[in-house]
Symmetry: C2
Subunit: 404 residues, 2 copies
Amino acid sequence: MVTVNRNYLKLPGSYLFSDIARKVNDFKQKNPNMNIIRLGIGDVTQPIAPAIIKTLHESVDEMANESTFKGYAPDLGYEFLRKTIADKDYLSRGTTVYADEIFVSDGAKSDCSAIQEIFGIENKIAVCDPVYPVYVDSNVMAGRTGDYNAEKGIYENVIYMPCTEENNFVPDFPKEKPDLIYLCYPNNPTGGAITKESLQAWVDHAVKIGAIILFDAAYEAYICDDEIPHSIYECEGARECAIEFRSFSKNAGFTGLRLGFTVIPKELKCDGVSLHSLWARRHSTRYNGAPYIIQKAGEAVYSNEGQKQIKEQISCYMKNAKYIKNGLLDAGFKVYGGENAPYLWLKTPNNIKSWDFFDLLLNKAGVVGTPGVGFGKNGEGYFRLTAFGTLENSIEAIKRIKEL
Amino acid sequence: MVTVNRNYLKLPGSYLFSDIARKVNDFKQKNPNMNIIRLGIGDVTQPIAPAIIKTLHESVDEMANESTFKGYAPDLGYEFLRKTIADKDYLSRGTTVYADEIFVSDGAKSDCSAIQEIFGIENKIAVCDPVYPVYVDSNVMAGRTGDYNAEKGIYENVIYMPCTEENNFVPDFPKEKPDLIYLCYPNNPTGGAITKESLQAWVDHAVKIGAIILFDAAYEAYICDDEIPHSIYECEGARECAIEFRSFSKNAGFTGLRLGFTVIPKELKCDGVSLHSLWARRHSTRYNGAPYIIQKAGEAVYSNEGQKQIKEQISCYMKNAKYIKNGLLDAGFKVYGGENAPYLWLKTPNNIKSWDFFDLLLNKAGVVGTPGVGFGKNGEGYFRLTAFGTLENSIEAIKRIKEL
């Protein structure tokens, strides 16, 4: 008798973004002429920058000729990309990460969800609340959590670390000792950033209690404040306790091209076993590398032209963020984030429930956002808007919200 | 105390293709002027066909404009590709597989290794011996096997099904009852094919014992004989017991572009649970879709021009296969495969060990193949050559082998 992985059955049936899509479709059918403004899902809207497009065309042409055709990529990524990443993202900023510590992949979501596989099932995870659901769901599927408690909105056997106004959306050390700590800064969904001092305190704490920090830095390109760390490896001791995830999705608009990477320092060990070697084994056994043309596109992101162009794109998104934030403040909302991240985290007026505010905004203003409670129980009473729309849409959204 | 996934430590330290690469590098350093002919790894050598290149350029241009830019792909793949696959690979051939039963991915290796995640850990797997190592290794990592017995060359708690000259490289039903049965036809590494009758018998057997067949059809494009099934769904009852994996790597040279898909019929259930819904949940939680431009390239494979061009490529490889096979037969070898698959499986002369024959061929002829024992103990005394080289190289390889 074949059995299924019954851990999957612990996952609640419907998924946050499917619920949103359903509600939006219903509204659209009833209001076919309404111009709906979507500031819900964190997808970019600006096209791929010209310098990257040029490289894509060139590398497509390489695939057309026998002498330059590329078959299977090296399992861990092309040297040209790994070296460029190490130089430009780390070494030239004074951060110690070497090319052979970088594993190129098809995106941070794949890596964030797969990393738990190299750890024992008995490890206890700690996550922020609210949180990007992938960290939790991948551990649920693996059997590292208990059942879902629908009443409390939590999984048993998971340490939830509240991120609230009181702690400025950076969690306190949990009372119970975790093994694997997921942190994401700049943060999705709260748009919060972490100071160097706070991140160093987390690193020190992880070293002290013998935990590993899984650090998702997918939004580091949005950091505007010089004091905010771009990488956890800027902290002393992080090479002995942290794994970092990076993405090309949000800094260069690769959501539809798929490219990311994971950093595992060579000295990072658990129980005498190198995590770098375990991850290398997983990569080579279960993955065949990101497409050559996409890896070339990734290299082009770091060219002078590429850097100039993507910085302009990010600056556009951050202008939206500023406009939305100021508009909401003007309208009397309490708003967080949007200064070092493309997300705005607003408190719903009169403490109404997240989903009620979602319905209100959709039905009265035709604006789609994401109910905070979809990211965890501490997200109740909050609402996420993204800065990834156009300026025009951002202005229109604020106009409509003000008229509510 | 963080623990690692100790199942990884069961995997023998070195990997078949790394061992080969090391030996080839050593030889190259000692013989810098020797033109080494590589017929080892199953990577293609012909460039991407013109019709596909054209589409790649067009879709890259779409990514350059705001109005045609594509962000996140639908989790399960773009409708245009899923529909085309269903029509061209299945429905138009009289095989029942619908578009919404197709899950687009970055390749068959990813899917073949991930599929085990949706099943319970207590399921017993059966694999052919010799076998593509990914099926076994992914189950080792998940903890579904016992320790590796180096003396016997097998993992405990795995059912190995010998594929030998006697059974024409199609395994007999194992005595012990398996839950998950991995089959790959046309076969890697033996180059063997399975008749409709034999595959139907396997489907009937699976239905009878309540097992699931995981059918890897990555090499179906190489089938020349009309009697050989291209899909397991050509067999009656397969929709109730089989999952099928397909790849664009070998039919259209996408080893460096990365595209594949998995078919899970909607009626396929275990213990009352739909496997389709479990896999959909895994896909959407742990994956972000294949790049838009690669999915467009996949669609172009099915265009009239695309089909014509890739059939010419396959025909070139099969000419190599024929040349190599006849040459080896001429030279007195016993050779299998190469008629419906791009692999030749030859018996080593005088029953010498696979690795000894590898060394002989490398050192005396400068030809690289793959030792059969690298695929399992029943591969001992065999050797795999691929037809993925150029005709020129295939001719030169045979010339050198004949001069041995």
